[in-house]
Symmetry: C2
Subunit: 221 residues, 2 copies
Amino acid sequence: MITSADNDKLKTVRKLHDRRWRDKLDLFVAEGEDLVETGWKPEFVLVAGEDVEPALLDEVSALGSGTRVIGVYRRRWSEPGGDLSVYLHGVGDPGNVGTIIRSAGALCDGPVILGPGCADPFSPKAVRASMGSLFARPPARGAPGGRLVGLDAHAEATLAEIEPTPPLVLCLGAEREGLPEELAAERVRIPLREGGPDSLNVAMAATVALYDVAHRMAAHA
Amino acid sequence: MITSADNDKLKTVRKLHDRRWRDKLDLFVAEGEDLVETGWKPEFVLVAGEDVEPALLDEVSALGSGTRVIGVYRRRWSEPGGDLSVYLHGVGDPGNVGTIIRSAGALCDGPVILGPGCADPFSPKAVRASMGSLFARPPARGAPGGRLVGLDAHAEATLAEIEPTPPLVLCLGAEREGLPEELAAERVRIPLREGGPDSLNVAMAATVALYDVAHRMAAHA
């Protein structure tokens, strides 16, 4: 039983709050029993009251008090691919990145591909928002290939006009900046009410597009 | 120019972090220029460097440093209604409540109706997540009426089978507990991949359902 904050495992967990340490050690943390249960083989697990004093585990939690289990894992990445996948460019909010990983796990067969300027999918908030999907299908890195369709509030064509033929990569940019011009010549918008907000939250837009295309792809298969 | 933390307006902003004070004073706070610009007539506005020393405004911000403008507003509520609206039951995360208010503003003509156990839509996180939509169409309270369709992972029927005839209220419960049995006899599920996660985040589910039904309702009109 760990009874001192000066323990090496606790120090590692604390370091892993920081993206530079995650990159350096190639490790990340998952908090909570539900997540740790779904995870792959951990480097180590700390259970409050069994391996470590509960107050000491709370101190190294990134998500607030009451954490009963923390697992430390080596990072894994997928290769881009699948009939339907998602590419994100400049999506800086870790909650959004994690939520999109969860939605992709539920709705398509390919990974979430992370381009420049995206939040770290292995940050505590992203891991939490992804639920088990980060483990079931880790994200990919780099540039997407094949047929790219960009979500773009200014596009003329609408989501329902996408020809649902695989393979297809749905591309989304940051909420304000959108996608770089040179990426994804084919663009569609999600039709929104006049006089309402200009846009949906990026995780909402990704999930609506995944649902719509996946649903029609399955019907055409 | 306010130069002391002991100022009444700053004290009010600080109190309004707390739900009990929001209920008591019937006021709430919106932070950030983009939000305050979209808001209705404020009780008062504090601009960093004009009305108040920037460091003092930062101190009363609920959303972190760098806030340039804070507005204080009287709460308003909508009445339930519209061709398409959303009812939430036990949705406790303020980010999800705010995001659903934003999605409803973009996709349907009715308000978000908040049942028991929901996060306060006037909390700082919910206001931020709602973007301008909280002002454009405030949430409603109480029980929904008319034709209720519940989102339910265990339903046999799927979302695409909902007959898109207005008026219709989409009902969503907490992610684990779901909806109370007595609510919404008509239930549908969003089809998800086998072996993937059991469910979408509640804000994702609400937005996908709003998109699907609104789109088909418009096509039938």
